[in-house]
Amino acid sequence: MNRLSVDLPGLQLKNPIMPASGCFGFGKEYGMLYDLSILGAIMIKATTLETRFGNPTPRVAETASGMLNAIGLQNPGLDGVMKEELPWLEQFDVPIIANVAGTETADYVEVAKTISTAPNVKALELNISCPNVKCGGITFGTDPEQAYELTAAVKAVSTVPVYVKLSPNVTDIKEIAKAVEAAGADGITMINTLVGMRLDRKTGRPIIANVTGGLSGPAIKPVAIRMVYEVSQVVEIPIIGMGGVSETDDVIDFLSSGASAVAVGTANFVDPFICPTIIEELPVKLDELGVEHISEIVGRSHRL
């Protein structure tokens, strides 16, 4: 028996660890460092209908135990991803979760329809929470009705299960979660970044050219854990948790809070081998906790 295996809609994962969207490109760079087949899955960079150059630089700024980014969904566009990136990833025995972004429902639908047909794309991750694009993105993620509509529209065309990625920048994340579940979402991924800002000490102006950026890294973990804890108690669909995962203990925390699998974002920049390291250490942690299979700790923070 594989002690780390996780079964989710569309996804048979060898282990619950996957790089988070936007922090791993389309795998090529990290593929030079280790064999991508060891990963549970890969969440690829957001794909939009057209090629996007993204925001002006500077696009990143460091903060206390965190970082801000405002990449602006730079990507080669649906065509490029279908013709180059996804076929390249086929050499690995790893399910791909395609992060789908857009500015209006029609783009999302078109990207979802096409990308879900790629043989290695086993699930979609609907990005309704990107804080770094002017229109679209986060507005779908902060209004339960819009989130419902978009999810339903994408579900109608996708040939693979659809996970919806939630924004933490809301008064009540449970409402959004329930709305996307009602619309037919197969799972939830959470959280995307918190909107933040850093100023240049000399000029007093924002460092990020886009003014605001998305805060990620260990700093946001307490907020992410709280939200997974809340949402996992009001929805039936599984959650892939993320936000500040930087070491194996953090994975245990996310699973305990109610996530079924965990994505690693910013930590890849700090330690490019973090995913393989965590995968290696997980069985040791299970031994320490006296647990046979990783699923046993899912939701133990609120289980009776």
């Binding site: 490109g25 990290y30 030079m32 630089t57 990143v60 135990s65 980014n69 890294g217 890849n268 490019p272």
Partner: protein, 257 residues
């Protein structure tokens, strides 16, 4: 590219806030050209979080040793400056594509123009060009005489002009003020420094074959996160390049500045 736990061999202060550190490790064996850089994790804690990109200023593959020169300014580089011989550090590298030594033939002349903490990678470049029989002219710009470093080291490799903004040493003003005075013919130029300097250098030597090393704030350092992109000029087929993996060195004219 590898992630290595390198050992600090020595640390010494060169001038105002500028430090020279020697590091030893297998990573050195993979360096292929001057102007490549390393991405350093200055602490095992998560604060400061990100790695710091620092150019390789010199390397010795037989000894598995390399030199970096950096300014201790912010939180990360200040921690770096507190390391002592014997300390271990997590270093990712070598990263990026450096200066093409091959672009200048033996017997030709190259002008190397550096500004501030852009000066360090030119040192290894000059050593390699010299070894090949290229004549090197160095033009190094600093804020003031207190900030000047490696003047003697460069002098041993060729004519070396210093410019300081406050006029406390060498020519008063910018590297471009020195560039105007150089009347000799040269085959190529190589430059590293802040963006306004690179812009001025490229404009002054327009039409000449040159190579510029760029800086951008980085996330991953290996090409995955799209933090460090630069727009390219209209005459280039790609709309953008990544400083970390396509650069940091580009031929003059490639990057839109």
């Amino acid at each position: 590219m590898m992630k290595d736990r390198m050992i600090v061999q020595s640390q010494r202060k060169l001038s105002d806030k500028i430090y020279e550190m020697k590091l030893k490790g297998d990573l050195v064996g993979e360096i292929t050209s001057p102007g490549q850089f390393v991405h350093i994790r200055v602490t095992d804690s998560f604060e400061p979080l990100l790695r710091r990109p620092i150019s390789i200023a010199a390397y010795d593959q037989a000894e598995k040793q390399m030199t970096i020169i950096y300014r201790a300014e912010g939180r990360g580089t200040t921690i770096l400056s507190e390391k002592r011989a014997g300390d271990e550090m997590d270093v990712l590298g070598p990263l990026g594509n450096g200066f093409p030594v091959t672009e200048t033939a033996s017997g030709e002349t190259a002008v190397l123009i550096g500004g501030g903490i852009g000066v360090p990678p030119l040192y290894e470049l000059s050593k390699q060009l010299n070894k090949k029989g290229v004549r090197c002219i160095h033009i190094l710009g600093f804020q003031s005489s207190e900030a000047v470093f490696y003047e003697k080291e460069f002098s041993l490799l060729g004519e070396t002009y210093i410019a300081t903004v406050d006029g406390s040493q060498g020519t008063t003003g910018f590297v471009t003020d020195v560039m105007g005075q150089i009347e000799e013919e040269f085959a190529t130029y190589y430059s590293c420094g802040p963006m306004p300097m690179l812009k001025a250098v490229q404009a002054t030597y327009s039409g000449k074959k040159g190579f510029l090393s760029f800086e951008q704030r980085m996330g991953c350092g290996i090409g995955a996160c799209f933090a460090c992109v630069c727009e390219t000029s209209d005459n280039v087929s790609k709309p953008y390049v990544k400083v970390c993996s396509d650069g940091p060195v580009f031929e003059a004219g490639v990057v839109s500045i």
